[in-house]
């Protein structure tokens, strides 16, 4: 009986000792700073969750257990370079993302990536993770949602924050006329490209591209507007049209015609330019 008690005490001491040691090692690692959390939210969260499932990019929960740190560091610094080098795991991720390259954050430093990986590790263990997905209403999308989305896209309705309408930079096959802008990509099939509602809504909540990021950080899209755009882009994708042919040529032709008419008008206005100037003036004053 006594030897049994000794045995139990030894176990308790061992467990308690290892717990203290584990506690020490945990406290030795700095908790993620607010700045790193904000950076992740601004630059990564539109395509990745930590424990909330796949968006445009994979769920990053336990990513350090899937690949070692040096690989992850290299990939985050230059995703396109690693994918194009033929790395098998990068190729697998690329295929799963349906051929969409992850965007590198311009000017990102390796120290920043290390902090992000620390954050992902910490959040992978957290009981209530911060980045489990954007909370977008999952009610069924209605025709009224899609109509509001159409108006927001074309500028007929304004975003509450004063954000620019989508047509400024993006086109859709169904737009008609000269279509939408061509600074950004055609969004006709974006709903299927980003694999549906959840990823598209996350993308719209913090657009990560270099042109949209600074703009929409100042003028965010509200949750209702986000839902309306998702509904409209879903409707557009489901109409099954191909992406729009750029209307560059018809635009150039119409503008050339207007310019030619302007030249005719100039010629008409100054039609007397090579005739006498002085004589009619003298006649007018002496009449």
């Amino acid at each position: 009986m006594q030897s049994n008690n000794h045995y139990l005490l030894a176990i308790i001491l061992t467990v308690a000792g290892s717990s203290v040691l584990a506690g020490r090692s945990a406290s030795a690692q700095q908790p993620p700073s607010e700045e790193t959390i904000a950076f992740f939210r601004q630059n990564c969260y539109s395509c990745h969750t930590i424990g909330g499932g796949r968006l445009a990019g994979p769920d990053l929960k336990d990513v350090s257990k899937r690949k070692d740190r040096s690989w992850l560091l290299k990939f985050v610094m230059d995703p396109k370079g690693v994918i194009d080098s033929g790395d098998p795991y990068a190729q697998k991720i690329f295929r799963e993302a349906r051929g969409v390259y992850m965007q590198a954050v311009p000017g990102i430093q390796s120290s920043r990536v290390e902090k992000l990986l620390d954050l992902i590790d910490a959040e992978s263990e957290a009981e209530s993770p911060l980045f489990a997905g954007v909370q977008i209403d999952d009610r069924p999308l209605t025709a009224a949602d899609a109509d509001l989305g159409r108006q927001l896209f074309s500028g007929l309705a304004s975003f509450e924050s004063g954000a620019p309408s989508c047509i400024s930079c993006h086109t859709l096959a169904s737009l008609g006329g000269l279509g939408g802008g061509r600074l950004g990509p055609d969004l006709t099939t974006v709903y299927s490209r980003l694999e549906g509602r959840k990823a598209l809504a996350a993308w719209l909540s913090t657009p990560p591209t270099d042109i949209m990021k600074p703009l929409f950080a100042r003028h965010p899209i509200s949750k209702d507007e986000n839902l309306a755009l998702v509904a409209y882009l879903k409707q557009v994708t489901e109409q099954g049209t191909e992406e729009a042919e750029p209307s560059n040529m018809s635009f150039l032709l119409i503008a050339s015609l207007v310019a030619a008419l302007s030249l005719v008008l100039i010629d008409f206005i100054w039609r007397a330019r090579y005739r006498a100037v002085r004589r009619p003036l003298v006649e007018a004053t002496t009449r």
């Binding site: 500028g155 004063g162 006329g177 802008g181 061509r182 600074l183 002085r278």
Partner: protein
């Protein structure tokens, strides 16, 4: 390339050169403020160069300044698609007019021996920079539309950040190469402005538009003067 250097340092540098040299040249060489018109040497091709070029350029420039000063007005106007298309077609048509005029101006300077004689290296620099400016502007209109809208949302805030001395180049850093070239070349033009014929912009005799017509009368007998000589 360092974006801050391109979109903050270069603009401030070119604006500093513009103001300092423009004032200094006016104080020291007031009578060089002219484009030294060559209209008397050749007039027909001059008309098809100067008129479309100036109308196209001045209206396009006014549109840029307007979108910089009142970006929200532009966005409100563009919120109806046909109005957006109208403004974009007008913009590109003005670009074509400017290009037609500029090509005529350059061809005239090249082909007319009298005009070529009064053309300086500074003039060729200006024509070269203007050709780059107009060509990149038209390229942007065609390949990266709709610039009237995204100028108001991305370029105007950057320009205002320069005006308020809090430069924020983030919206410009990600722009396509053609846009960056257009913007940089514009600041090069501002920088060379006080050294070239471009100074005539500051001494345009606008009052001629409202001035009453003047009739010049010669009272001498020109034939007798000729015979005397």
């Amino acid at each position: 390339m360092n974006e801050f250097l391109l979109f903050a340092v270069v603009p401030y540098l070119s604006m500093a050169i513009f103001f300092i040299v423009t004032i200094q040249r006016y104080r020291q060489r007031k009578f060089t403020y002219s484009s030294l018109s060559s209209q008397f040497l050749e007039n027909k091709q001059h008309f098809w160069g100067s008129v479309p070029f100036h109308f196209g350029l001045l209206l396009t420039l006014a549109a840029h300044v307007g979108a910089f000063l009142l970006p929200s007005w532009v966005l409100t106007w563009n919120s109806v698609p046909w109005r957006l298309f109208l403004i974009e077609i007008t913009g590109l048509a003005l670009g074509i007019l400017t290009l037609v005029g500029l090509i005529n101006i350059v061809m005239r300077r090249l082909n007319n021996s009298k005009v070529r004689l009064v053309t300086t290296i500074g003039d060729w620099v200006v024509y070269g920079l203007l050709l780059i400016q107009v060509a990149t502007g038209m390229g942007i209109a065609i390949f990266h539309g709709w610039g009237s809208s995204w100028f108001a949302t991305s370029a105007a805030p950057w320009l205002w950040s320069l005006v308020t001395l809090q430069p924020d180049v983030s919206t410009m850093a990600a722009m396509p190469a053609l846009v960056k070239m257009h913007v940089l070349n514009a600041f090069v033009l501002i920088g060379v402005f006080p050294f070239t014929r471009l100074v005539h912009v500051l001494v345009v005799p606008n009052h001629y538009i409202w001035r009453k017509t003047q009739v010049v009368l010669w009272n001498w007998d020109r034939k007798s003067i000729r015979n005397r000589g």
